[in-house]
């Protein structure tokens, strides 16, 4: 473990620390947001250019993980409140509110760790940097300080997070795995499905 409290490993063949290698593992896909207080739950995700935030209420031992990609092209992405940035802000708010509602309800009890934003494909170079810029700006705007982070770099990563204890484990993935992740993210970015249409399917008025 390094000084930021995150366990890091290189390569695919390294074994997991015991606490991450048992119990229920829930995969957090792009667009997901999962929250739990169970001791035996581990949230797991693989990130290329995407960002995952791990938010935990340190008093209530409730934590959650999201996974989002702001894929808007340059130009509009410079717009702080453009569709892409709005999507990221909603993803962060959703996670924070879920943790607060299942936890103590106090923002001062939250600790936040952020991961991802890798530079794993030349076509996605800008995206990773923009994702990092977004999440740092969001945290600054809302008055949060990341208790630890593992952002950027020329690799994809697998992130494991224990919502109960708040412990995180990052494994930097080999380039062939990173290439596959980049391919999937690029397909998502091209289809532009990462910015979902606003929900307006409930008519009560």
């Amino acid at each position: 473990m390094d000084s930021t409290g995150i366990r890091r490993q290189m390569g695919q063949n390294s074994s997991l620390p015991p606490e991450f290698d048992r119990g229920i593992v829930t995969t957090v896909h792009q667009g997901d947001c999962h929250v739990s207080s169970a001791q035996d739950v581990t949230f797991s995700t693989v990130l290329g250019s995407c960002i995952s935030a791990c938010v935990r209420d340190r008093v209530a031992n409730v934590g959650g993980m999201n996974h989002f990609l702001l894929a808007e092209q340059s130009g509009s992405a410079k717009d702080r409140y453009g569709a892409s940035a709005r999507y990221g802000a909603f993803a962060m708010e959703q996670l924070i509110n879920k943790v607060l509602s299942q936890g103590s309800g106090k923002k001062s009890n939250l600790e936040i760790k952020v991961f991802g934003g890798g530079k794993i494909n030349s076509a996605l170079d800008d995206v990773g940097a923009k994702n990092i810029e977004f999440v740092r700006q969001f945290l600054a705007d809302e008055g949060y300080m990341a208790s630890s982070e593992d952002l950027g770099g020329m690799f994809a990563r697998r992130v494991l997070f224990k919502p109960h204890s708040g412990r995180a484990f990052v494994k930097r993935l080999d380039s062939d795995v990173g290439a596959n992740v980049a391919k999937e993210e690029l397909a998502l970015a091209k289809r532009r499905v990462v910015v979902p249409a606003p929900v307006d399917d409930i008519e009560l008025f």
């Binding site: 702080r80 409140y81 569709a83 709005r86 999507y87 802000a89 909603f90 962060m92 708010e93 959703q94 924070i96 509110n97 879920k98 607060l100 509602s101 309800g105 106090k106 923002k107 969001f138 705007d141 809302e142 979902p196 606003p198 929900v199 307006d200 409930i202 009560l204 008025f205």
Partner: protein, 129 residues
């Protein structure tokens, strides 16, 4: 038909980024007179000193949440008829029913965009010019 630039809107949200997004969208719809409140308590203070034509409030807030704010506003003669739109998450659809009972005029589900916001506002205060 109300002119957007003549309508005073109070945005209530404890997250700066959400207030920023809401203000950005309202600006796109032509609204100029926008007041921001960073909590339910802050909103009550702002309502004392300003003429507000429309309130758009978040539900989840640290001190006074959106539902409590709505109930307080509906109790006071000066504010009881004030149009109130609640912003809520997708998973909070059940809570919308509670808000209806408390007298909310409409709701908007996050994430929202300009057209959704326009539709919701027009449903409450009439077509914008």
């Amino acid at each position: 038909m109300p002119k957007a630039s003549a309508v005073s809107v109070l945005i209530v949200d404890d997250q700066q980024s959400m207030r920023g997004i809401c203000k950005y969208i309202l600006n796109q719809l032509g609204f100029k007179d926008i007041i921001e409140a960073k909590s339910g308590r802050d909103a009550l203070g702002k309502l004392e000193g300003a003429n507000v034509d429309l309130i758009i409030s978040d539900w989840n807030m640290d001190d006074i949440d959106g539902l409590t704010l709505l109930k307080v506003i509906r109790k006071h003669p000066r504010t009881q008829a004030m149009p109130f739109i609640m912003a809520t998450g997708r998973s909070d659809a059940e809570q919308v029913k509670e808000a209806i009972s408390a007298g909310v005029n409409n709701y908007i589900i996050k994430p929202f965009d300009v057209s959704t916001m326009k539709k919701r506002i027009e449903a409450v205060i009439g077509a914008l010019t």
